[in-house]
Point group: C2
């Protein structure tokens, strides 16, 4: 029950945990930086479209809504050398970030063709971002064969074959919570090593499998907390001057 990949608890060999070492050409790249690279990329694409060829860390920081020093440190992680006194070359930066993030297409399989699964399947932003949805599976046989934006739904029992046939490298779980662990297990069994889970359930994966979760209910509840605190401290009037 203790999630191996998501929360490195006690039993994991610490040596293997942290980052993905140095076989490739790139450096480790810290998570926090990693999470910002796509944001930079979006801003850079916009600039490139406008014909801007050079950008300073300050400008990029403003567009991305972060600190300029952070931008510089982030970019330094992927060896992107800008010119002092000038800034960074937009096109080169795009290439560097793109390369660091994986560059080529990463086909995605979605498990669960309900409300959320269908919305995700139809989302063209994934395709645009290099993550084409090439397969959708569900346990509901009545959905079998139905098409969603060019991809026909397959029964979850055939996941193995579908994953292999389509070359999916990344799985998205959009099943009810009680089926999430099973869905994840099947994805892992099919050979996937990167999974994004939308179900509000704690699932465990074997070591070496990357599991991330998107917990919308939790996001709402965090906002709800602040809302609650605000209203209960605003109501009793401004006691402190």
């Amino acid at each position: 029950m203790t999630a191996g990949g998501s929360t490195p608890d006690r039993d994991l060999p610490i040596a293997e945990m942290g980052v993905v070492q140095s076989a490739g050409s790139s450096s480790p790249i810290p998570e926090a930086t990693l999470a910002r690279l796509p944001v930079y990329m979006r801003s850079l694409v916009e600039m490139a479209d406008e014909g801007i060829s050079t950008v300073s860390s300050r400008q990029l920081a403003d567009l991305a809504g972060v600190n300029a020093a952070k931008v510089r440190k982030d970019l330094s992680h992927l060896g992107a050398h800008g010119k002092r006194g000038v800034g960074y070359d937009v096109d080169r930066l795009l290439a560097e970030i793109g390369g660091a993030l994986g560059g080529s297409l990463t086909p995605v399989v979605i498990v669960g063709a309900g409300n959320l699964g269908r919305a995700l399947s139809r989302y063209d932003g994934f395709m645009a971002g290099g993550f084409p949805v090439v397969a959708v599976v569900d346990s509901d046989r009545s959905l079998e064969g139905r098409e969603i934006s060019g991809v026909s739904i397959t029964h979850v029992d055939h996941m193995d074959g579908v994953v292999r046939a389509t070359g999916s490298r990344l799985g998205i779980v959009a099943t009810p919570a009680h089926a999430a662990q099973e869905a994840v297990d099947r994805l892992v069994a099919a050979g996937l090593r990167s999974i994004l889970n939308f179900a509000p359930a704690v699932v465990s994966v074997p070591p070496g499998v990357q599991l991330r979760k998107v917990d919308l209910a939790t996001e709402l509840q965090i906002l709800g907390y602040y809302e609650h605190v605000r209203t209960s401290s605003e109501a009793p009037e401004q006691a402190v001057g």
Copy 2:
């Protein structure tokens, strides 16, 4: 996020550092803890359903997939006193967490009734979690009046009235990226102070407004990065071929 509200501690003058403390009853509760409370809550609800009345930090930690000490420290933040040698009372803990997170219902308004907005509107988990979707607005007049799970779509121009009439306290932005800033501005103008943004755009809000974002594309890209690093370090021979 140039947002003044999204990361309170960073943007505020250090003098103001303490969070919301003064008037309210509860302590500040750190973000990291806040994000885990809903997870604990889910596990606790399950246990309560099974008739379990007492839980130790170890048990809860296993269910939530985290460290036991972390559970204890988290719970200590909301003054939830367990009994040494025994554990925590499940029902009391549920009440305490529920109270800390806001307790009562927090009505939600969704901006943008496209793929994602409709999926979110139909999601009954929000209602179950205390966040009923009481309003849906869109700029597309052809959607006006159409119903989604009991809520009829209103034109975005009437947002003010709808928000007031429904008592919405929390806004969800599910518009295209280019309309996100406008949507946020309108929500703020309507009096909302807590917003969850799904659009992949950097939006800014006035100080005091809580803005959180859910960036699905970024999640995929982070996974894609690890996938990329793994494959390029696992199959150096095959890749060269």
